[in-house]
């Protein structure tokens, strides 16, 4: 493992990239971070992810792994001697996979609509977003993390989106904390962990990034 070459092709504001940064931090893996310009995609990105041409891409000893949750599972399986992300029981593993998939299907899509849409479409997205967070609150229950006593697969899938909440709230003109205080409490608890705080970006900077994107797409 000492001779492992690990590179992460990423974009600083991407919650999907943050998932991988968090996973690597949890495992204590040293890696080279390579910021990508998605307006001017580099040869390495196109070579390592020819199908989607997207980040994040993990390059491990020259071989690429694409798609954030697939990368997180890969990291869990390769560096298996520390901080397991998934439980060992198949049924509990299935539950973790289900909820991580839920985050992918709901949180990202609704969140995106909140900052890209207006009027009724935006309102519908806000409702869908809050409803989804409430379902996640139900799944969390009284546990400190979705993974139980320690951060796990669902935590890694979800908590990076917290960095986008301020942008959603400001653009969507609503308070996520007012609707889902338990979930916000959970996110803040996660941020107390050094691996999380050093892997997640500043929400205010993310907001500036989203404002820039909206201008670029001509959304007023």
């Amino acid at each position: 493992m000492a001779s492992d070459q690990v590179t992460l092709l990423d974009l600083w504001a991407s919650p999907f990239g943050m998932r991988v940064r968090l996973a690597l931090a949890e495992k204590g893996v040293k890696y080279e971070y390579s910021e990508q310009d998605l307006m001017n995609k580099g040869a390495l990105l196109l070579q390592m992810n020819p199908v989607h041409k997207k980040i994040p891409v993990l390059v491990h000893n020259g071989k690429p792994v694409c798609e954030s949750l697939i990368i997180v599972q890969y990291i869990d399986e390769v560096w298996k001697d520390k901080a397991p992300f998934l439980p060992s029981d198949p049924y509990q593993r299935a539950q973790s996979r289900f909820w991580a998939d839920f985050v992918d299907k709901k949180i990202y899509d609704f969140g995106r609509k909140i900052w890209m849409e207006k009027g009724e479409d935006q309102e519908a997205a806000k409702k869908g977003f809050i409803d989804s967070l409430k379902l996640l609150e139900g799944e969390l229950g009284d546990k400190p993390y979705f993974g139980g006593e320690t951060i796990g697969y669902v935590d890694i899938a979800l908590v990076p989106f917290y960095t986008w909440f301020y942008a959603y709230e400001t653009i969507g003109n609503f308070s996520i904390e007012a609707e889902c205080p338990k979930l916000i409490g959970y996110c803040k608890r996660c941020l107390k962990k050094e691996t999380v705080s050093k892997s997640l970006e500043d929400p205010k900077k993310v907001y500036d990034f989203v404002v820039m994107l909206r201008k670029k797409y001509g959304i007023e």
């Binding site: 199908v51 599972q73 890969y74 399986e77 198949p90 049924y91 593993r93 299935a94 539950q95 998939d101």
Partner: protein
């Protein structure tokens, strides 16, 4: 000691519909592993209280119930099946190969199904052309991946084959309805060969849903999406 060998009371149920390509994945996986199960046939217009209780979030099939444990989402169910019944593994041991299998399964669901189902089957005119062009791009990637291999899983059927397997039956029906050929033998010879191989594989070949019924269903879906009586 594998207690399951001696536990005659192990109960495996699959909630499915006759037409669902997603539920079919679960049925294939269980049969390939020789696992006995019961099928609960659902009518999606009239979902059973049990289905709604077991899958309150998505309210969909398939649902797997194994000794009272409920698992939803076909790809999640496939991994559960592979981890629970270890004979005839669907995923390789090597983490990179495993990641690759998962990548192609996801590509099938996120991209191929969207462009063929959503774009080609349900649209017409310019939108259908765009769906067709996107589908050809996606199929080219699959062609490159399958070249030189019998199955996406190598010598034996794996997770990606099961996830993409709908192409080996449902696609013919889409092609017939819209009058367009997608997996062209000349354009995609390796993918066409895989289609044949997979469609005729033991277990797979015995479990396809009725072709004529599917044609009727998909024609109705297409017409409903285009709006009855909409001029072309």
């Amino acid at each position: 000691m594998d207690e399951r060998k001696y536990n005659m009371a192990e109960e495996v149920k699959v909630f499915s519909t006759w037409a669902s390509p997603f539920a079919l994945r679960v049925i294939w996986a269980l049969k390939l592993k020789g696992v006995e199960f019961d099928t609960v046939h659902e009518d999606l217009i009239n979902k059973s209280p049990l289905l709604l209780q077991y899958n309150p979030i998505h309210k969909k099939v398939p649902v797997l119930v194994h000794d009272g444990k409920v698992i939803c989402e076909s790809l999640v169910i496939l991994e559960y099946i592979d981890e629970t019944w270890k004979q005839n593994p669907l995923l390789p041991e090597d983490p990179h190969q495993k990641a690759n299998a998962r990548f192609w399964a996801k590509f099938g669901d996120d991209k191929v199904m969207q462009s063929i189902g959503g774009g080609v089957l349900l649209k017409e005119g310019k939108e259908q052309e765009e769906g067709f062009a996107a589908s050809m791009e996606h199929l080219k990637y699959l062609e490159d991946e399958i070249r030189g291999k019998k199955f996406f899983g190598g010598e034996t059927i794996g997770l990606a084959d099961i996830a993409l397997g709908w192409l080996a039956h449902y696609l013919d029906i889409v092609e017939e309805i819209v009058g367009l050929r997608l997996i062209d033998q000349e354009k995609f010879p390796s993918l066409a060969a895989w289609k044949q191989e997979f469609a005729n594989a033991p277990i797979i070949r015995e479990n396809w849903p009725d072709r004529d019924k599917l044609v009727t269903k998909y024609v109705a879906m297409r017409e409903a999406n285009l709006g009855k009586g909409t001029p072309k």
